[in-house]
C-alpha cells in the first residue's frame, strides 16, 4: 500500500513541477527555454517550502540541495553557465555536503528531529511573503534599461572583469579567506590536554 502512496505522491509532485512549465510552453509558442525557467522556478519554490516545512532535518538538507540545483539550472537558462557551475561546486559540492556531514555526525536518527525554530513559522511566513511581494514589486516596477543586457556574459568577460576592474576585490577576498581560515582553525582547534 505504501508503494502506491509513494507513486501517487511522486506523480503529484511531478505534476506540480511540470504544469507551469507546460502552460508556459503552450502559451509562449513552444520555447523550451521559457518552459525550463518556469519548471525550475516551480521546483525551486517547492523545494524551498520543503526545506522549511519538513521535520526530518536530513530531508530538509536534501531539499535544500534540490533548491540550489534548480537555481543553478536557472542560471544556465539565463546564460550564465559559469555562475551555475560555481553554484553547484560551492553550494552543493561543498557547503550542503558539509552541512549534511555535520548533521549526520551529531544527530540521533531515533527520536523526533523536530526543529525548534519552527515555533516561529507564522511570523517567518508572513515576513517571507512580504519580502517576496516587495522584491517583485521593485523588480517589475523598475525599468532595468541597459543593466539587463549585461547579464549574458561569457567566461571571458567574467575573467576580464575579475582581473581588471575588480582585481582589488579579488585580492581583498584572498585576505578575507586567510583571516577566516586562521579564525576557523583557532576556534576548531582542540586545546592541548582538553
Amino acid at each position: 500500500m505504501r508503494a502506491w502512496l509513494y507513486l501517487i505522491a511522486a506523480a503529484v509532485a511531478g505534476a506540480i513541477v511540470t504544469t507551469p512549465a507546460l502552460i508556459v510552453l503552450i502559451l509562449l509558442g513552444g520555447s523550451f527555454d521559457d518552459a525550463l525557467v518556469a519548471g525550475l522556478a516551480t521546483l525551486m519554490i517547492a523545494a524551498g517550502i520543503a526545506v522549511v516545512s519538513m521535520r526530518d532535518i536530513i530531508r530538509c538538507g536534501l531539499a535544500m540541495i534540490v533548491c540550489f540545483l534548480s537555481l543553478a539550472g536557472l542560471y544556465v537558462s539565463l546564460g550564465a553557465p559559469m555562475v551555475a557551475a560555481a553554484q553547484v561546486i560551492v553550494y552543493i559540492g561543498a557547503i550542503s555536503v558539509l552541512i549534511l556531514f555535520a548533521i549526520m555526525l551529531t544527530q540521533e536518527k531515533v527520536g523526533s528531529a523536530r526543529l525548534t525554530f519552527q515555533t516561529q513559522a507564522a511570523p517567518a511566513a508572513i515576513a517571507a511573503i512580504v519580502i517576496a511581494v516587495l522584491v517583485s514589486v521593485a523588480a517589475f516596477g523598475t525599468s532595468w534599461g541597459e543593466v539587463s543586457e549585461h547579464i549574458r556574459s561569457a567566461t571571458v568577460y567574467v575573467a576580464h572583469a575579475l582581473f581588471q576592474n575588480y582585481v582589488l576585490v579579488l585580492e581583498a577576498v584572498g585576505v578575507l579567506l586567510l583571516a577566516a581560515v586562521i579564525g576557523g582553525v583557532f576556534l576548531a582547534k582542540r586545546e592541548k590536554g582538553a
Binding site: L134, V137, E146, V147, Y166, L168, V169, V175, L178, I182
Partner: protein, 499 residues
C-alpha cells in the same frame, strides 16, 4: 600600476604585519614579547606609511582625491584620518589585552593577528571606491570580530555571544549585499562615483525614484543599522558584548562601529549623497530610538560590561545626530561625527581597559559589585575609570564633552536653517546626555562610596597596561582641552567627501 600599489601601501603593510605576527608565532610559539614587538612596531609602521601616503599621494591638504585600481580605491583626507583611527584602536586593544588573556590561558598571537586582519578590512572600507570593495572590506572587518567574540572557547557565554553575533552579522551582511545588488541594478555600475553620478542625474531628472532603488536603499539602511547596532537592530549587541572577553568587547564596541560609520560615510554620504533628503528622515528616526532606548536600558543594568554595551548603542545615536546634521546641509555635522568617532574610541577603549584590568584574575565578573570600593583598593585605576566615565557622560573639559557639543551644535544650526526635525533631534540628544549621567556616575559612586565587597587584594598590572591607560587618558583630556589642531585634520577629512 606602481602608483596603484603605492596608494594601497598602508593596506599592504597592514596585511604584511598580520602575516608577520603569524610567522613570529610559528617561529617562537606562545611568547608574548615578540608578538607585541612585531604587532605594535608594525602598527607604528602602518601609521607612518598612512601619513606619508596621505601626504604624498593625496597632496598636503588631503582634499585632493587620488583614485587607484581604476577607481576601486580612493585616497583622500578621510582615508588617512580613518586609517589612523583604526590603527590607534587596534594598538590600544593589543596593549590592553595581554594581562587579561594570560590570566585565562588564551594565546595573544592569534588575538593580535586576527585584530590586524580586522584592521585591514576597516582600512579598506575607509578607502573604498567601489561598492564591491566596500562589501568585501566590510566582511573582512567583521569576520574576525565573530571569531574574537568566541575567543574564550571554554566559556559558554563567549560562545553564545559569538554565535548570536555571527548569525545576525551574516544575516545583516546578506541584507546589505541584497541592497547593493539592487543599487547596482538601478544605476548600472558598482563604482561609487558612478553610482553617485547616476543618482544625481536621476534626482535632477525629477520624478519618483525607481522602486528597485528604494528597496535597495531600504536594505542598505537595514544592513548598516545592524552593523552600527542602531535600535531596532541592536539585539545582538548586549549578549555579544557581555559574553566576549573584555578586551574584545572594548574592541567590538569601537572598531566595527567606527568601521561601520566609515562605511556610512563612503556609501551614504559619498555614493548615495544625491539622495540625502530621502535618507535623512530614516537617520533622524534611527537616531531618536537609538539614543533613547540605549540610555533607558543602560539605566537598569547591573553589569558594567552590559551597561557599557547599551551605552555604546546610545553613542551610536549621538553619532547619527551628526550624520543627520550633515544631511541637513551642515558640514559641521560630518566634522562632529568624525571627531566623535575618535573621541569615543579613546574613552570607550579606556573604560573597557579598566574593566579588563579589574578582571586581571580569572573568574572576576564585570558586575557592578566588583567595582565597589575600588577607589580604596586601587585608587589610580578608579581615578582613570572616573575620567573615562566623565568623558563618556560628556562633562567638560574632556573629549566626550567637546564631541557631544560639536554634534549637537551642528544639529542646532541645521534646525535654525529650517530643518526643524534635526533641531528637535538636538534637544533629544541633550536630554539623553543628561540621562546618561545617572548610570555612568553610579559606577563612580560604587567605586568611591561603597565598602569593598570582599577582601580582594590589589592586583599588579603590567607596565604595558599602565602605559596604554595613561596614553588614553591623556588623549581624552587633550582632545577636550586643546582640540584645535585635531579639528584641522577632522575638517580636512570632512571636506574630502562632504565639501
Amino acid at each position: 600600476m606602481p602608483n596603484d600599489i603605492l596608494a594601497l601601501g598602508p593596506f599592504i603593510a597592514a596585511v604584511s604585519v598580520a602575516i608577520a605576527v603569524l610567522l613570529v608565532d610559528i617561529a617562537v610559539p606562545g611568547r608574548r614579547g615578540p608578538v607585541l614587538v612585531v604587532s605594535l612596531g608594525g602598527l607604528a609602521l602602518v601609521a607612518a606609511l598612512t601619513l606619508t601616503t596621505g601626504q604624498a599621494v593625496a597632496g598636503g591638504d588631503g582634499t585632493l582625491r587620488v583614485l587607484a585600481f581604476g577607481g576601486a580605491y580612493v585616497v583622500d583626507g578621510l582615508t588617512t584620518f580613518l586609517d589612523l583611527i583604526f590603527v590607534g584602536i587596534v594598538a590600544f586593544t593589543i596593549v590592553f589585552a595581554p594581562d587579561y588573556l594570560e590570566a585565562r590561558g588564551l594565546p595573544l598571537a592569534e588575538f593580535a593577528m586576527v585584530l590586524l586582519f580586522a584592521m585591514t578590512g576597516a582600512m579598506l572600507i575607509s578607502g573604498a571606491g567601489d561598492l564591491l570593495v566596500l562589501f568585501v572590506a566590510l566582511e573582512l572587518m567583521v569576520l574576525p570580530g565573530y571569531m574574537l567574540a568566541g575567543y574564550h572557547k571554554s566559556d559558554g557565554y563567549s560562545t553564545e555571544g559569538a554565535i548570536k553575533y555571527f548569525l545576525l552579522g551574516s544575516f545583516s551582511s546578506a541584507i546589505f549585499l541584497f541592497g547593493l545588488a539592487f543599487t547596482w541594478g538601478a544605476t548600472g555600475t558598482t563604482s561609487i562615483e558612478g553610482v553617485s553620478g547616476a543618482l544625481a542625474a536621476a534626482v535632477a531628472g525629477g520624478g519618483a525614484l525607481a522602486p528597485a532603488l528604494v528597496l535597495g536603499l531600504g536594505f542598505l539602511t537595514t544592513g548598516v543599522a545592524f552593523k552600527i547596532a542602531a535600535v531596532p537592530f541592536h539585539y545582538w549587541t548586549p549578549d555579544a558584548y557581555q559574553g566576549s572577553p573584555t578586551p574584545v568587547t572594548g574592541y567590538l564596541s569601537v572598531g566595527p562601529k567606527v568601521g561601520a560609520f566609515a562605511l556610512i560615510l563612503r556609501l551614504f554620504v559619498d555614493a548615495l549623497g544625491p539622495l540625502r533628503v530621502d535618507w535623512l528622515q530614516v537617520v533622524i528616526i534611527l537616531a531618536v530610538f537609538t539614543m533613547t532606548l540605549g540610555n533607558l536600558v543602560a539605566l537598569t543594568q547591573s553589569n558594567v560590561k552590559r551597561m557599557l554595551a547599551y551605552s555604546s548603542i546610545a553613542h551610536t545615536g549621538y553619532m547619527l545626530v551628526g550624520l543627520a546634521a550633515f544631511a541637513a546641509g551642515r558640514i559641521e555635522g560630518l566634522e562632529g561625527l568624525l571627531y566623535y568617532g575618535a573621541a569615543y574610541s579613546v574613552m570607550n577603549l579606556g573604560a573597557f581597559a579598566v574593566v579588563a584590568a579589574i578582571q586581571r584574575r580569572a573568574g572576576v565578573t564585570s558586575g557592578l559589585d566588583t567595582f565597589a570600593g575600588l577607589g580604596r583598593r586601587e585608587p589610580w585605576l578608579a581615578i582613570l575609570m572616573t575620567l573615562f566615565l566623565l568623558s563618556l557622560t560628556g562633562i567638560p573639559p574632556t573629549a566626550g564633552f567637546f564631541a557631544k557639543a560639536y554634534v549637537i551644535l551642528a544639529a542646532v544650526q541645521a534646525g535654525n536653517a529650517g530643518y526643524t526635525a534635526v533641531g528637535i533631534l538636538a534637544v533629544i540628544a541633550v536630554i539623553n546626555a543628561a540621562a546618561a549621567a545617572f548610570y555612568y556616575l553610579r559606577v563612580v559612586v560604587y567605586m568611591f562610596m561603597r565598602e569593598p565587597r570582599s577582601e580582594d587584594a590589589a592586583m599588579a598590572h603590567g607596565r604595558l597596561m599602565w602605559g596604554g591607560l595613561v596614553v588614553a587618558s591623556v588623549l581624552t583630556v587633550v582632545l577636550g582641552l586643546i582640540p584645535g589642531p585635531f579639528l584641522d585634520i577632522v575638517g580636512r577629512a570632512a571636506r574630502a567627501i562632504g565639501g
